[in-house]
């Protein structure tokens, strides 16, 4: 199935959904010679601002490779990737790092909170990377922790927080620098149903309210209904894209 055509028609019909990510014929190969494997086999995908896009599929289907390429962490073997209007291959490594720091928020499967830092300090990291003064960054992080309901636990270390609380700190860290693209890897994998649902609601809220594109890689069938779009991958190809949102867009 060619996902590209679906996306283009949706965008063209409404003119409302800005294209945050455009992937064209993206191929990624790993290894050399006989051991060469093709992880992505010509992916065409558009991701729109204000949408929460779920990438689903079995293990090894290429989901992680695809979001790594979209986030500028991996170079595709061939094809084009445009993120927020920028061709990623045109960036030098340093510029790409700066681009990520300014525009992309990350939510990792195991949270990747630094154990030696408190919740508020962890949440402030993207601002420190952006060279903001520490005091100002911490103040801003405190405000955001308040928004995600962790004001009372702001001085707790990750080991003192539950999985759900750690994920909320990670969400605060991913959003504190107001990124226009949020890339999430299995954000509910380590959470119980209730916590997972709350995290997805939170992500949905930040996506829609801030016209932010959110891409979520997930295996968690409990949260599929909460996404605006579901893109299914198998063997490095897009097998299916949920049309529900595009249809809604046409109607409006």
């Amino acid at each position: 199935m060619n996902d590209c055509k679906l996306e283009n028609s949706a965008t063209g019909a409404t003119g409302r959904l800005d294209q945050a990510v455009i992937c064209r014929d993206v191929v990624k190969e790993f290894g050399e010679g006989d051991s060469r494997t093709r992880a992505l086999q010509g992916i065409d995908l558009d991701v729109h601002a204000g949408q929460m896009t779920l990438l689903v599929g079995p293990s090894g289907c290429g989901k992680t490779t695809l979001i790594s390429i979209i986030a500028g962490l991996l170079q595709p073997t061939s094809g084009h990737v445009q993120v927020l209007g920028h061709e990623l291959h045109e960036f030098k490594p340093r510029e790409l790092a700066d681009f990520r720091a300014a525009n992309i928020g990350f939510l990792f499967q195991q949270y990747k909170l630094i154990p030696a830092l408190t919740a508020v300090e962890n949440a402030a990291i993207p601002l420190l990377i952006a060279r903001q003064p520490r005091v100002k960054a911490l103040r801003q992080a405190e405000e955001l922790l308040d928004v995600v309901g962790l004001a009372a636990r702001r001085h707790a270390y990750p080991a003192q927080l539950s999985g759900g609380q750690q994920q909320r700190v990670a969400i605060a860290r991913a959003l504190i620098h107001q990124p226009r693209l949020l890339v999430c890897d299995e954000p509910t994998a380590a959470l119980d149903a209730e916590s997972g649902y709350r995290v997805m609601e939170m992500l949905r809220e930040v996506a829609i309210h801030a016209e932010r594109a959110v891409i979520i890689v997930t295996h968690d069938s409990r949260v599929l209904a909460l996404g605006d779009r579901t893109v299914s991958l198998s063997d490095g190809r897009i097998m299916h894209a949920d049309l529900a949102l595009e249809e809604t867009a046409h109607e409006t």
Partner: protein, 379 residues
Amino acid sequence: MSWVALRMLWGDRGKYVGLVMGVAFAVFLMTQQVSIFMGILRRTASQIIDVTDAQLWVMDNKVRFIDEAPGLPDTDLMRVRGVPGVAWAVRFYKGQVRARLDNGNFRNVVLFGIDDASMVGAPRAMLRGELSDLQRPNAVIIDKAGYEYMWPGEPQRLGREFQLNDRRAVLVGICDASPPFTTLPVLYTRYSQAQDFVPRERNLMTFILASPEPGADATEVCRRIEARTGLMALTQREFFWKTIYYFIGSTGIPVNFGITIALGFIVGAAVTSQTFYLFTIENLKYFGALKAMGLSDRRIVGMILLQALLVGVMGFGIGVGLNATFFEATSGVTHLAGLYMAPFAFVSVAVAVFAIISLTALVAIRRVLVLEPAVVFRG
């Protein structure tokens, strides 16, 4: 991000303490061994340094170090005095004799016989008694450490008597003298008195101490003495290093200390590098996350260098502090006299620690730089 780097380091208390202690151990071992090595070498030539009033040492031309000088005939003194550029020259005896104490014990002692009239080669500073008392019959002056060695635990008392070569020796003073290599008491007496104290030898004069005329070049005068007399003439500095080089080249001391110093370096480097590498490996996922979030390689390198530098500075400070405590605590121990933390040891070990830390940081940096930021999505 410096602040984050330091918090990461301090956050893992066990490894932080292990790292600092690894460096501190290496610094302690290296600084101590280098200091003791330098102190011992200095002690081999300490009697040369103690003679402050003569610039030139004249001796048999086969002498390799201060302790093996054979006697010279008195005529050599006259020949040296006749060399142009020599202002004055006097007899000087240095040798080992055996002292018999009043309780029947024997002690080997280093005996200096200094010129009766000029007192050239006399002790640098008197602690008890007067230098002029040396003019009294059978008079000797002993160094403080030597007194404690001969009469341990007894209060300092002048007038004590003992025997040298079956002759009565009377203690008239206690002086400050650099400790000799063999930790023996150092006795000073008049040259004429030494002739009684030393078992009979045909020639007693082991050295001629001389001074160049004002304005004359000491090295040039030495060469002139050698040319005219066939003796060896050295400046104080030349003789000091000749003796030092003899002990370095002809004894196992440098090898022994060298091995310990090398072990300190290797163990310190191994412990520190290994622990720091493990620390970095354990934090690799966080460095990967920071890279993914846009932190540049240059700033990550800065974080690791800062962590390594802090470990180095803390370890160096603790190691040097422990060493200073050791030398301070043992400063009153007689047989350790003359051993102290040498500035050279301080500087050379600082360089060694810098090398350890640089090596450690390089290994860690290499591991982080080759890290693909995409690894953060692989669990």
